[in-house]
Symmetry: C2
Subunit: 682 residues, 2 copies
């Protein structure tokens, strides 16, 4: 049983005051949760295995601050534990270009996940836990327990109300993730007031229903032993994740403690002063850290963690001698590298190959690279036979006791939980060890996970969405299921690829570029219906995100399209040729990647002097960027046979031809006015 | 205790076969759940109060098929109950332009909510139940129980896994909605296989934790008495919603019964034949309805419901005599009309009024119209003091026993549950009685509710999102909270307004148009920071969605902007004038509304021959539709003081001026080439 003494109290007061000083200096931020959770942070961090001297150690314990607005607490802990945050950085809390932004971001030292948007942290932590279990099952050997870290989460009422966490925590319970421990800051306060206003459910009972172990801490404000015991008990529960409901006083010590006002407003000067006095600090000084507190954390966290990390390093060296192949593979993954020449496994097609739905071509890719890339982990939101996301011969990731799979399995059954799945794959990617997770659903329902997708883009998590049934082409399921605005949405989101391959080579290119992109998530939109292999497509060309598929000597018009409409344009071009209108066909499988090419290249694809018409069975809004005229669908879809719907909206060879003729005629006397879309003033 | 006999068995078989015949004829659709749930549908519908002869009766019981893919069942019941669906309509299931699309849509007769996207139905049903409670509390008088209908939901495993339903059901438990009854089709099957793969939580325990009553039906396949008793028991529970876990066999009677394959694939011909034989029908005939079944449903549902509806009509007539004001108000609401001249309450501003944040201006609007529009119901996802969504003097909608409000209250505390809130306000709007719900959150987190927002647009639910903290202008909370792509997303979604008012008159216009739009939802994006009242803005002009704010004789350039950037452009224009560049300022507060204006009007706003530059601190993607050059932010935001961030991204007077000068110079010799964006070939 740990002995806690004066030094612990002093450390906790130091943490509390550093946090509120940062908030007060910024005159912005959230002092309530830091004041309430500082004791738990202190107890937890002094027993976690991590170190500022071993930031990338793959077996470090992971700490996630799901209530990310409490980050003044996190930055204080990181500073005191020797991470690369100076006192000046704390003073720059919430200031432009500082290292201490208003919510924690993934790229910062010691921050395991971007949090702030509620529910994301705890849900992605489920992914961190899954990754650890899988890594352990894949590489651990007798006498070489390389992977055994825990994942700890701080979460508040907000995170637990969010549906995404309900989804992910149900998954965690099913998967029996005993390596996941959540400390729930039960302070009975939310922004609107008391939790009695809207959040009166029995939280622990709900978590029992999910299959979690549930514990309680009655006095999270001051009873360090109680906190410590709960964490130890949680760690001992091997086959259930644990949630510890910890009673705290929000804004502990403040004159406004226990009230909703202390959640998100800096303490007033008088309040701050009385707080410092209360804790035995000089009320006139700020950002004060007694040397003994630095020494204490250095010993308890930094050096202890470094010792563990060094021991681990020796163990891993021995492991590499005894298991050279596995050891090299793990080292490669730790270094964040894909296997040499992996892309040679990607299937290549010629126009004589049969027409195949791109969702099926995606499955072929996954089957082709599955064994080469042990870092691939797949999942689907209960649409496996529709998404075709499960590689042949793969094992399901399941607790062995279920007999449905085991921890080394790389295919997760996520259930009908798109947002939870999105957060989970974010966590798997964030874990490290080069994990490359992908999640499947219908393209339209990627929107259910928009919160998680955005965090992936902001954080640079290299996740892949395998998004099938991409348009009216899905047919009878109808407008509730047919994407219209989805690609426009994600094309406008920074740092995310939105691939819509038109054939097999483009599908291979989509996976190639997506997997090579270490810091950019990807959505790959795939058809339900068969598409022909295109003349002129290659993996190399498609990897530019946009390219000339078929050219003519002097184009009278340029047809640009993505996915299923590329072949439609190819067919239309033949008809147009018979009418003496020569069309260049351009395929733009991914705006993001295309926009990264040189301006000269892009101008060569879409030059001056030729009218450009886009053709895509989605909203037209994103195409004005590249095209003078847009043929799209700015209405909801329809329920019916796919071919009937295509006809209904005019997307036939004849429909494209008619519109191309109109466009050609309209611009005939204006061609000199037509500039490449890439020749701009700004 | 109800006696069930042969006629009931015959009716159930008829329903089952009509459903599978529709699926087989379409060669598409989901036969499993219809076969499994037909008995429950039969028992429930024969005791619900509704009638095809009283389709808009405000006190009808509401039935929601949350597992919307089972709609072959719904259409069969609707046909048999005399709704406007012929046998031919059933034969046209899932065919283009039929009345029987692949998932049920709100505008169809007898369909209470659009479903298909899982989780939406059950969650919006919570809104239907809230609306009923509120209507009852508002209008019922002793001896005049005008409102007392129940809301019944069929839901499957999929809906219960979705986070949105977790959120909404937690709210329903807190609100003690005893008028809500969910029948959960516990068939242990999902698309991937058995629920043992991913959905092993204790569902009833979870619902107990939410505060629901939980019941079970062991034999939903055949024990009609058991089903009936459970429904009766559920109705008796006055202060808790009820979930009834009903054991069924998916695909009951099919050779594939109990397997995941029967979920979403038509029965094979042999299977269909054996099924018909099993049920005592001719295996060679399809779409067979014995006359006695028509007669039975006509008596048990249509005529019985009509009787209740007629009684209600008489009661309401008496009520109108005794309570003329309330009666007239309720009649007005039933007729779907707003009060005459309500818009005269909207505040009007002049440039001498102070600068105010538009979130505050929104609050002023709500306060101004709150009493005039008793149909307004507000809520916030735990951001009430930030969204400023609670009208002065309003009462919270809470169970009276909590002492926090009562059922007549019109402000709901939704908790941190954006998606659940979105579905709930959809349900409130769908209820009828002219309910006009609005939900508040930060604009960035409207994305969490994208699923529900899309259904609102598809269905035409007149909901309003009060979406504050709309940009980098929110400052220190940083990139996790600052919208970039959000407006582009929703601008590309059909049938939804995306207002971003620039001042007080524009805010009033946003509410005016949003509330007048009966079939189009609306997002109103509002600032945290103060904005000046603009010279040239009026409610009337802004109501066009886009207009010339300030003009010049011969514009050298047109600056178009929305919201906070309009005043920035106004200031920049003054500087530009001193450099002899005359700028017209155009404000586009809502693309959707602007696009509905005549093409001549729009050309008058954005004519030929003038370079058009957009200015908006969001993604540029949507502006290429209107502008030649776009000044925006195609990156994530930053954490810092709002003014520092604006400066960082160049959004200062000087920054706008520099870019405007560049644009002006670039197009000086190309003006003759510049066409109005509304002069297109297509």
């Amino acid at each position: 049983m740990t002995q806690f003494g004066d030094i612990d109290k002093l450390a906790i007061s130091t943490v509390r005051l550093l946090a509120v000083d940062a908030v007060c200096k910024a005159n912005s931020g959230h002092p309530g949760a830091p004041l309430g959770m500082a004791p738990a942070a202190h107890v937890l961090w002094t027993q976690m295995n991590l170190s500022s001297k071993c930031v990338d150690w793959v077996n470090r314990d992971r700490f996630v601050l799901s209530n990310g607005h409490a980050c003044a607490l996190l930055y204080a802990m990181l500073h005191l534990s020797g991470y690369d945050y100076s006192i000046e950085d704390l003073k720059q809390f919430r200031q432009l270009n500082s290292k201490t932004p208003g919510h924690p971001e993934f790229e910062l030292p010691g921050v395991e996940l971007t949090t702030g948007p509620l529910g994301q942290g705890i849900s992605s932590a489920v992914g961190l836990a899954i990754a650890q279990k899988n890594l352990a099952a894949t590489y651990n050997k007798p006498g070489f327990e390389l992977s055994n870290n825990f994942t700890y989460v701080f979460a508040g009422d907000g995170c637990l109300q969010e549906g995404v966490s309900s989804e992910a925590c149900s998954v965690a319970g099913h998967l029996q993730l005993g390596n996941l421990i959540v400390i729930y800051d039960d302070n009975h306060i939310t922004i609107d007031g008391g939790t009695n206003l809207s959040f009166t459910e029995d939280v622990l009972k709900r978590y029992e229903a999910y299959g979690w172990e549930t514990l309680s801490i009655a006095d999270g404000d001051s009873n360090l032993n109680e906190i410590s015991q709960a964490i130890l008990k949680a760690k001992q529960c091997k086959n259930k994740p644990t949630i510890i409901k910890m009673n705290t006083t929000i804004g502990f010590g403040s004159l406004s403690q226990g009230k909703e006002t202390v959640h998100g407003s800096p303490l007033k000067p008088d309040d701050l002063k009385q707080l410092k006095k209360k804790f035995g600090f000089d009320p006139e000084k700020s950002f004060v850290v007694p040397q003994e507190v630095y020494d204490f954390y250095n010993e308890k966290i930094t050096e202890r963690g470094l010792e563990e990390c060094t021991k681990w390093g020796k163990l891993f060296s021995e492991y590499k001698k005894k298991y050279p192949e596995l050891g090299a593979e793990l080292q490669r993954r730790i270094d964040g590298k894909l296997p040499a020449n992996w892309e040679s496994k990607l299937p290549v097609y010629t126009p004589s190959d049969p027409a195949i739905a791109t969702r099926k071509l995606s499955e072929v890719v996954l089957n082709s690279i599955w064994d080469t890339l042990p870092e691939l982990m797949g999942t689907s939101a209960d649409l496996t036979p529709s998404n075709l996301t499960r590689a042949k011969g793969s094992v399901d990731f399941q607790p062995p006791s279920t007999k449905l799979g085991d921890w080394s399995g790389r295919y997760i059954r996520c259930g009908v939980r798109e947002h939870g799945m999105g957060a989970i794959i974010n966590g798997i990617a964030a874990y490290g060890a080069n994990f490359k997770p992908y999640g499947g659903t219908f393209l339209n329902f990627v929107s259910y996970a928009a919160g998680a997708v955005r965090v992936a883009a902001l954080s640079g998590y290299p996740v892949i969405w395998v998004a099938t049934h991409d348009s009216i082409g899905l047919g009878e399921d109808g407008p509730t299921h047919q994407p219209i605005e989805t690609a426009t949405h994600f094309r406008a989101l920074p740092n995310i690829q939105v691939w819509r391959p038109a054939d097999g080579n483009e599908t291979s290119a989509a996976y190639k570029v997506s997997l090579e992109n270490k810091h950019t998530p990807s959505i790959i939109a795939l058809t339900r219906q068969n598409l022909p292999q295109l003349e002129g497509s290659t993996i190399e060309k498609a990897s530019k995100g946009g390219y000339i598929l078929q050219d003519v000597a002097k184009p009278d018009i340029i047809l640009i399209a993505s996915g299923s409409e590329v072949s439609l344009c190819v067919d239309a071009a033949k008809l147009l040729k018979s009418k003496n209108i020569n069309a260049r066909i351009v395929s733009i499988p991914d705006f993001f990647t295309f926009d990264k090419q040189s301006v000269d290249y892009r101008i060569s694809v879409l030059p001056d002097g030729v009218p450009i018409m886009s053709v895509e069975v989605w909203a037209t809004l994103s195409w004005h960027k590249y095209a003078h005229e847009c043929f799209g669908i700015d209405d909801f879809g329809r329920s019916g046979k796919a071919t009937d719907i295509y006809k209904y909206f005019g997307f036939t060879e004849q429909g494209v031809v008619e519109r191309a003729e109109k466009v050609h005629k309209f611009y005939q006397d204006k061609k000199v006015c037509l500039c490449s879309p890439f020749k701009k003033a700004l």
